[in-house]
């Protein structure tokens, strides 16, 4: 944070409206069946889960007061917080938890989160306050998965039973949750209005109203921000570095910077014999100057990725092999792999020059720039790279799913739990699965399985540190960077507490001191 720290004299006060911005429209108000950011952002204020995550992304109790794993990690018992009420006044009970699970796994409910509960054998209510979950085998994500939004059985049961959850009024016009804010109004394409929930179990939120304005253009949102038409947005690197440093802006807004939840990489189709040779991948890693990439593409607003985990989180280790920019090493490795330079300066092996197509998705400017830098840097090695930006759907369907690509510049989002089984495990290389690059390494498989089936964090740390060492050495893809997330929040809003969990966690504790309140009507 590089702005004024709220002074001690500013006492918390109720009132005011927080005007937030969303780039996309809301797709539904039941988070269980949505996968877009806008819906989840709004849903996170209306609904709550059994657990939540604190500033450092550690699980803490939300609707569950406490929880306990059995020794073999297969039984998880939640003790629910007494006295929690739905927004319509009905009590929240263990039956609602059972119902939420039944809803997610119901085949007629279009939820993308079903597979997260594949190992759950049963969920039972033991009286109104105790929930017992039994897993068929130990599952590391057991706890974090219960951060999912709890759904009201008394309102939704009928619709779920009849297989038409999408038609329930809770899905669009009257959602009912247990979260800090209640739903007031939704105008499609225009705004969503929430009001504070006076009965929220952690106390009534200070800010009385949240209005989410839907503004599809990021440039327009930025102009609105400058004119104080919205109170918060995520800046682009350019906006952060070049367009928001003037004094008036710095006075009106608090800017933040923290590593985001996604990394960008250059990946190779490992079925291609040229890329199956680890020395070639390592040579490319040496030849791609990550500093130049981060400087050129993100104006320095990124952290170097040494593997698929975010720097600063409990699972991350930097004690792995790194690949600082070194053309000589790159040349040596390629020579070892049998590639020699011909008279034209091109790299050849068995009479065939080294050239490949680098695909990325159209409309993502950062990735296009990365592709250009990679192209220039590999040209110095004598490798010809052709860049081909493709529309996302076409790229995915015609090239990635069919494994008809040579190399790609893409990114992976990472979750709160370090389990990345679906991305790296050799069993996940089918056409609809996510190990696009067809990576297979028994050592990695073993570590992924071990990390996934333990519920003891100190054990898991060991597996994931090893995993990062193996990945850094074997280098299935060239990890580039974690882009920084660059949120701004109006400075009249106090109590923003940034951390690895971003700035939004516990936003119900934000407040505007009385003299600074802006929207006082109503």
């Amino acid at each position: 944070m590089d702005s004024v720290v709220p002074s001690a004299s500013a006492a918390p006060a109720y009132g005011d409206t927080f005007i937030d911005s969303l780039l996309g429209n809301i797709s539904s108000l039941i988070p269980t069946i949505t996968s877009d950011n806008a819906s989840h952002e709004v849903g996170s204020q209306i609904y709550s889960g059994l657990v939540n995550f604190d500033k450092d992304l550690k699980p803490v109790g939300d609707l569950a007061e406490s929880w306990e794993f059995s020794k073999d990690c297969r039984d998880l018992t939640f003790r629910l917080r007494p006295g929690v009420k739905w927004h319509d006044g009905q009590p929240f009970t263990a039956e609602d938890v059972v119902f939420t699970w039944q809803t997610i796994i119901d085949p007629r409910v279009p939820s993308p989160y079903k597979s997260e509960y594949g190992l759950v054998e049963s969920v039972r209510a033991d009286g109104p306050d105790v929930v017992r979950v039994h897993y068929s085998q130990p599952f590391a994500k057991a706890l974090t998965n219960w951060a999912t939004a709890m759904l009201p059985k008394h309102l939704l049961e009928r619709y779920v039973r009849e297989g038409r959850i999408r038609e329930a009024p809770q899905n669009w016009s009257a959602p009912v949750g247990t979260g800090p804010y209640r739903f007031k109004e939704l105008r499609s394409g225009e705004k969503v209005v929430l009001v504070s929930n006076p009965d929220y179990w952690e106390g009534r939120p200070y800010i009385s109203r949240i209005v989410y304005r839907i503004i599809p253009s990021q440039a327009t949102t930025f102009l609105e921000l400058k004119a104080k038409g919205v109170d918060a947005m995520l800046l682009t690197a350019l906006q952060y570095q070049r367009q928001t440093s003037y004094p008036a802006f710095r006075q009106a807004y608090q800017r933040f910077r923290h590593p985001g939840n996604a990394y960008t990489y250059v990946g190779f189709n490992l079925k291609d014999p040229r890329f199956a040779d680890r020395r070639v991948r390592q040579a490319f890693a040496y030849a791609i100057d990550k500093r130049q990439v981060m400087e050129g593409v993100r104006l320095g607003l990124a952290r170097e990725a040494t593997g698929p985990y975010k720097p600063g989180t409990w699972v991350y280790t930097d004690k792995v092999k790194t690949y600082p920019y070194d053309m000589d090493k790159a040349r040596r490795l390629l020579a070892e792999a049998g590639w020699t330079r011909n008279s034209d300066g091109l790299l050849v092996k068995d009479g065939r020059p080294f050239s490949f197509e680098l695909l990325t998705n159209q409309g993502n400017d950062e990735r296009k720039k990365i592709a250009e830098i990679v192209q220039a840097q590999l040209r110095e090695l004598g490798v010809t790279v052709e860049i081909r930006p493709l529309e996302w759907a076409a790229l995915l369907k015609e090239y990635i799913k069919k494994r008809k690509f040579e190399a790609i510049v893409l990114g992976w989002g990472i979750g709160i739990d370090p389990d990345q089984y679906v991305v790296w495990h050799s069993s996940q290389t089918g056409p609809d699965q996510l190990n696009h690059i067809s990576y297979a390494n028994p050592e990695v498989d073993r570590l992924l399985e071990a990390g996934r089936t333990s519920c003891v964090q100190s054990e898991r740390v060991k597996y994931y540190h090893q995993l990062q060492e193996v990945l850094a050495d074997d280098l299935p893809l060239v990890f580039l960077y974690f882009a920084d997330a660059l949120p701004v929040v109006a400075s009249r809003i106090h109590g923003v507490d940034p951390g690895p969990n971003g700035v939004r966690w516990q936003s119900f504790k934000w407040f505007v001191p009385r003299p600074l309140q802006r929207y006082t009507a109503g």
Binding site: K114, E167, P216, G415
Partner: protein, 320 residues
């Protein structure tokens, strides 16, 4: 009656074309690079017949549409398409009708004046204006006006339809707030169109005033204002009516650029989002409405020729 096979053709071709675009509503979801499991969603959408051959899907769609059943959106909210269109249409329609009225109100006098005073200073300066108007991309003009009038001067709101706290304003402020939000988008939308329409008007007027009957009107001693305003103008309006009729799809379909830059919840935004999400029922519903209204508008344009120009009579004795 001729409109029905035409409409069928339009919907058939559109249906095929939108399904040619790669990806389906489920695959599109994985766009953010978050590792999620799409299998359950794929199973769910099989219920909608997405795994059936295209002609079967089209036939099923057609069977529903003849009963005026537009179906439900594929998005997780699953709302009826007709509701989604009903809430978007008024914004787009209001915006475009106002824009068109202003445009015609300005373009006709400007065009007529520059035609009757050909090569005058006024004509020359409007010519310059027209070229500037043609050459200015509306997204650029929009952003410039937003920065100048919205950010620096703070006179007008930058985007949206009304203030986020509109409900709490007094009645007259509500009306002003609503109007002030429309000023920028309407200005930008009018600017580009005005250039074109005033040119059409000028050209068409120039042709008409050289005709014999205009000369004879002058010869019988009518004042110039009546000659131009009554005799010449009516005939000169014909091409404008045609062009206006042709611009009806945009009137209903909305302008994607304007609606996106100014964050207006209109039909253009709805359509674009539906295309990105491969929300076929919404795309098709939109197309049917726009196509039918366009055909209807063309009919109205044809009929109004008769009103403006008595020489044209429609459909006498069944030959048309």
């Amino acid at each position: 009656m001729f409109a029905i096979p035409l409409l069928l053709g339009i919907t058939f071709i559109s249906f095929m074309v939108i399904h040619l675009a790669p990806g389906d509503p489920v695959e599109i979801i994985s766009g953010e690079g978050i590792p999620i499991d799409l299998k359950p969603l794929q199973d769910f959408y099989k219920l909608y017949g997405l795994d059936q051959p295209l002609h079967v899907q089209y036939w099923n769609w057609l069977k529903r549409i003849v009963r005026l059943d537009f179906g439900q959106s594929f998005a997780p909210h699953g709302r009826p398409v007709i509701h989604m269109i009903r809430e978007r249409l008024p914004v787009t329609l209001a915006l475009n009708v106002i824009e068109m009225l202003i445009m015609v109100a300005l373009a006709v006098p400007v065009g007529v004046t520059s035609a009757t005073r050909q090569y005058s200073t006024f004509d020359k300066s409007t010519t310059v204006f027209v070229f500037v108007g043609f050459a200015t991309p509306d997204f650029w003009l929009a952003v410039m006006l937003q920065i100048l009038l919205g950010v620096h001067l703070g006179w007008l709101p930058i985007s949206g339809l009304r203030l986020p706290v509109w409900e709490y304003l007094p009645f007259w402020q509500q009306q002003w707030d609503f109007l002030s939000h429309l000023i920028l988008p309407i200005t930008v939308a009018t600017f580009g169109g005005l250039a074109g329409y005033s040119r059409y008007m000028r050209q068409s007027m120039l042709e008409v005033i050289r005709q014999d009957y205009v000369q004879s009107a002058r010869a019988k001693g009518l004042p110039e204002s009546v000659v131009i305003g009554k005799h010449a103008l009516r005939n000169a309006m014909l091409p404008i009516v045609t062009v206006l009729g042709l611009s009806v799809p945009g009137l209903i379909g909305g302008s994607v650029i304007i609606e996106t830059i100014f964050a207006l919840p209109g039909m253009g935004q709805l359509m674009v989002q539906a295309v990105f999400e491969r929300d076929y029922p919404v795309i098709m519903g939109n197309l049917v409405i726009v196509a039918s209204l366009t055909l209807f508008a063309n009919l109205v344009a044809d009929l109004s020729y008769g009103l403006i120009d008595p020489r044209i009579r429609v459909g006498r004795r069944g030959r048309a």
